[in-house]
Amino acid sequence: MIEVVYFAWVRERIGVPRESVETEAATVADLVEELRGREKRYAAAFADVSALRVALDQELSEFDAALEGVREVAFFPPMTGG
């Protein structure tokens, strides 16, 4: 079980801000692949991962990072603070 959280237009496309996901995915990329296969709204949100950023337990990470030991995965577009 992993907590998956979404922000900005990723959240809007998926329709929920967070959810618990039952998964055996080894990497972030594997998890994205799994979610894409679930429903259209996930396929829409993850259509172009180069437009997305990922954080693992609240630290910026990469799509090829391992998920072992990770409790929270966040997907969002590039930040626009400041």
């Binding site: 900005a8 959240r11 954080a55 609240q58 630290e59 969002f76 590039p78 626009t80 603070g81 400041g82």
Partner: protein, 148 residues
């Protein structure tokens, strides 16, 4: 080092005065205030979403990098989230140092990193529609100035 993430408005002038007051070894204070701007006309408000928990950690990390890199007496970061009307401050940074070069560079650095590495997302709400502000290649390029 003072970092605040808040929904409430703040007064940039009062923050600058509080930050500056009573320092004997500071010759230079630089501040940056980011303000909700009506870029195309018709903006009703800006909405800022953030990632509670990560936001504070990311800003603290960026601030610590600035403290290590420049000889600063202190720094301040305030960033708001939630709905923001046109003309209101979104965020501010301030840096205090003995010399002006350190104060300028550190404030500039903080802004570049807060813009692209702190988990905030801006949405512009006009009468006609709502649109997420997109990051620009220039935002990312700005970071390369500091990667020497």
């Amino acid at each position: 080092m003072r970092v605040r993430v808040q929904e409430a408005p703040f007064d940039a002038g009062a923050e600058l005065d509080a930050f500056t007051h009573g320092r004997r070894e500071v010759g230079a204070v630089v501040s940056f205030t980011g303000i909700v701007r009506d870029t195309k006309g018709g903006l009703i408000r800006m909405e800022i979403e953030h990632y509670p928990g990560m936001t504070e950690k990311a800003i603290a990390g960026i601030a610590e990098q600035a403290m290590v890199r420049w000889d600063l007496a202190d720094l301040l970061v305030i960033h708001r989230h939630g709905p923001l009307p046109v003309g209101q401050p979104i965020m501010m940074v301030a840096t205090a140092a003995a010399h002006r070069r350190a104060a300028f560079e550190a404030a500039d650095y903080l802004m570049d990193y807060l813009k692209s590495r702190a988990p905030f997302w801006k949405k512009e709400v006009t009468e006609a529609d709502e649109a997420w502000v997109e990051a620009t290649p220039e935002d990312e390029d700005a970071l390369s100035r500091w990667q020497r």
